[in-house]
Symmetry: C5
Subunit: 86 residues, 5 copies
């Protein structure tokens, strides 16, 4: 799993059926690279989260038909900018 | 999922059976790296899209027999060159 | 598989059902990049471990329903900072 | 999918059962990084091709038992060194 | 598939059940990055091999229950340091 910080929500009016009505968040890694994750957990901008990829992302979405390759798996309790730098 | 910008269509006369007759788009990421995505959504050059990888790409294609590892999952409403730079 | 060093435990009170009650470790690679791995082996900070990714990560977790994309598969007997530099 | 240029054939006398008798090509990406792809299409050195990864690579090989993680999916009609640089 | 050179064996006394009694090799790519691959082929240090990743790695191991994400698929006949530099 990766450690990501939630940046903001993502709005896409024209969207794949299985992603429709799902919350999508723009997340960034330590280097500031952006990805989009499905969020069944309810994370807010600024939260540090663990994200799950590969086929496990679909399971973590609660339904393996959901077409996600990255899903938020949990909100990290104690993490900050400094934790990233060790 | 990743955020990509559609660059142009891709023409391949000699093509795998399951990709035949499917729209393929050349997409680029923030760094200008090119990939090829299957497009069931109908995106146009210049559109910012979310792309789905891993096994979820096949589901997002509408038929898990379709041999894609990257599928366009939606067109992003508000995204621009500046959003990429945060 | 990758070679990782265990850095520390990861605490997430709000967590995906299938990850609940599982030990998660922050691990780093040779370059200091951090990832999070599920640990069914009982590794301690400082241990050098092999980590298993892709769908094999779920199998290595002992139950393919567990939503992990990275699982510790073993503790390496003889490895040190120098082994990483060859 | 990725865009690759075929460099040459790969000869391996001692080979996995499911790869035996299959054509393997060394391919390179824009940056000159080499990978090995199974080729059910019949590409020749110098051809620009799209390559399919992930589990879709096995489907694209025509038999999901074939142990490939990268398969040539088609030969691109109009592509050149300049297309790679946009 | 990737091209790797076998560096040495890997010893892990405390190991995942499905990896137990399997030969594991430390392999390096052109850039010297290290990974660990399961070896059903019998490669020796110094051999250039093709390695198979993703779910195909488990198939290439001869039993899809084996928890590997990288498996040696064959020994390359004619490859040397120079082949890597094209």
């Amino acid at each position: 799993m990766q450690i990501h910080r939630v940046v903001r929500d993502l709005v896409t009016t024209k969207r794949n059926y299985w992603l429709a009505a799902k919350a999508l968040r723009v997340v960034e890694d330590e280097g500031g690279n952006l990805e989009v994750a499905l969020d069944p957990v309810g994370a807010k901008p600024g939260d540090y989260v663990i994200t799950i990829g590969i086929s496990a992302a679909r399971l973590a979405a609660g339904n393996p038909n959901i077409t996600t390759d990255l899903t938020i798996g949990g909100i990290i309790d104690h993490w900050s900018e400094e934790s990233w730098r060790n």
